[in-house]
């Protein structure tokens, strides 16, 4: 049985995604230091930044949803394409969606500074570029170099200037945006007192993210950071109730069993004499 368990373990560990937790157990790891393509002066040396890449399948002439994350602990970029996101050229069997890290351009954004790598988002099929289908968007999550309480916005690099896009904070240092076109994007931290020139992504009343709002890519908990307390509060309350009931049941049964033992062995009882 131990041999079987070892073989099963080897197979599953070998097949897991790269840089996944070795045992999918314990506490999540802290983010590793940000990996720059071109490290700023004075920053520590780190391994090179990694791309995010995925092959988008095509079924019945329509692309299937797909997502990709870069390999850092605390991925620095993640992209997700919903069903039908791409305009499929004739004869296309699959599309390669990539987010490749690039050096930050020397041009400084108005009222801010770039706090991430520039990530170039591309979709290709047999080396030819593929565009997003009309009315469809690409969801991107990007991690900044560090957490901040200043305003942060994702900006698109046009080749000559920076353009802000509606952005939502979805983690301590992770920001999301829905892009209507592919291209190069980076995270920009605005100077103190400077506000974004674009509105943030709309949120439904009650603090819950709307169905069209950006959110974290690849969330496994089913909860959206910042989506408001109600769902997590409900889970917390139910869990607490179950714990109290279960523990109470165990304690009550233990006490009743002890009472039964004591009454069965009471010193007042006399053993019946044989006839």
């Amino acid at each position: 049985m131990l041999v079987l368990a070892v073989l099963a373990l080897a197979a599953t560990v070998a097949a897991r995604p790269p840089h996944a937790p070795p045992l999918y157990d314990g506490l999540g790891f802290p983010d590793e230091p940000y990996r720059w393509v071109v490290p700023p002066a004075g920053s520590a040396r780190t391994p090179g930044a990694t791309p995010a890449a995925v092959t988008v399948r095509i079924t019945g002439g329509t692309t299937v949803s797909a997502q990709a994350l870069s390999a850092e602990q605390g991925p620095q970029v993640a992209v997700a394409a919903p069903d039908g996101a791409f305009a499929v050229p004739d004869g296309t069997m699959s599309i390669t969606l990539r987010a490749d890290p690039r050096p930050v351009p020397p041009a400084v954004p108005d009222g801010g500074q770039v706090v991430s790598n520039l990530y170039e988002l591309t979709a290709t099929s047999a080396g030819r570029p593929v565009q997003l289908a009309p009315g469809h968007v690409l969801l991107v999550n990007m991690r900044s170099e560090s957490a901040t309480d200043r305003s942060v916005v994702i900006c698109r690099w046009t080749g000559r200037r920076w353009e802000q896009v509606p952005t939502e904070q979805v983690g301590t240092d992770v920001y999301a945006s829905r892009l209507q076109t592919l291209g190069a994007v980076a995270v920009v931290r605005l100077d103190p007192g400077v506000r974004p020139t674009v509105s943030s992504i709309a949120r439904a009343p009650g603090g819950q993210g709307s169905s069209t709002a950006a959110g974290p890519v690849g969330s496994t908990t089913g909860t959206t950071p910042g989506s408001g307390p109600p769902a997590s509060t409900l889970v917390l309350a139910l869990g607490g109730l179950v714990v109290v009931l279960a523990t109470g049941l165990l304690i009550v049964r233990r006490r009743s069993a002890r009472t039964t033992t004591e009454s069965a062995t009471s010193p007042g009882d006399e053993q019946p004499k044989p006839a």
């Binding site: 840089h19 999540g28 869990g239 233990r254």
Partner: protein, 243 residues
């Protein structure tokens, strides 16, 4: 008074008459070697319920419910931080420990013979780390900030030990007493695997089933929950470097 030879006679003929070598006639009647007939109860050995142990099925259900409740509390407390939340992890460990202790009638949960637990546990940890090590050597991850290691390690250890205390300590003993070691393995292995799904997603299920099976095997080999606790803790700690 004449001394009459001992002869057989009707039951109840006299309290001082031994009718046969294996029969004592009286209100407490020993009928056979495996059956004790008391004044109000006929008890067969395969259904003997010791008065100091609660019904095992209900206890097992309560333990599993406690585990599920603790997990819900952890998920609810963690919110967006998810598996990274240290306070949620600590509360989770505390609840598991309290539920495990509540299930024990008298004695505190003992981990088993220390030396055996350590040897088997370390061996199990090596097995758990072997494949991640080979993957890591091919594709190493970046270094994590060392300043966060002590806190992270303390919480990881608390969570791992609490999980084993409940799963392969209390739950194992209760289910093994009722359904044997096979039954204990069948209950604790999927419980361990499903425990990780809300935090890591369904892709974690196959791996954690395999890990649960291995930890159950360590429990069998070491005859105590200390060995799986040691293996579980050491393997989790090694993950800091084996990403």
């Amino acid at each position: 008074m004449t001394t009459a030879p001992l002869t057989g006679g009707p039951p109840g003929a006299g309290s001082d008459r031994l009718v046969g070598p294996d029969r004592l006639v009286g209100p407490d009647r020993l009928v056979g070697s495996d059956r004790l007939v008391g004044p109000d109860r006929l008890v067969r050995p395969d259904r003997l319920v010791r008065p100091d142990r609660p019904g095992p099925t209900l206890t097992a259900c309560a333990l599993v419910a406690g585990l599920a409740g603790a997990l819900a509390v952890r998920v609810g407390l963690a919110g967006g931080a998810g598996v990274r939340s240290i306070p949620a992890g600590l509360v989770f460990a505390g609840i598991l420990t309290a539920v495990a202790i509540a299930a024990r009638p008298r004695c505190p949960l003992t981990a088993g013979p220390p030396r055996r637990q350590l040897v088997v546990g370390c061996t199990g940890a090596l097995v758990l780390c072997a494949v991640p090590l080979t993957v890591h050597l091919r594709q190493p991850g970046g270094a994590l900030p060392l300043a966060e290691l002590p806190t992270w390690a303390a919480v990881v250890s608390a969570v791992a030990i609490a999980e084993e205390l409940l799963l392969r300590g209390a739950l194992w003993e209760v289910t093994a007493g009722r359904w044997g070691t096979g039954g204990a393995l069948v209950v604790t292995t999927p419980a361990f695997a499903l425990l990780h799904v809300p935090l890591y997603g369904w892709p974690a299920l196959p791996l954690d089933l395999a890990v649960g099976l291995l930890l159950g095997g360590l429990r069998l080999a070491a005859r105590g929950w200390g060995a799986p606790a040691a293996a579980h803790t050491l393997a989790d700690l090694a993950g800091w470097w084996l990403r």
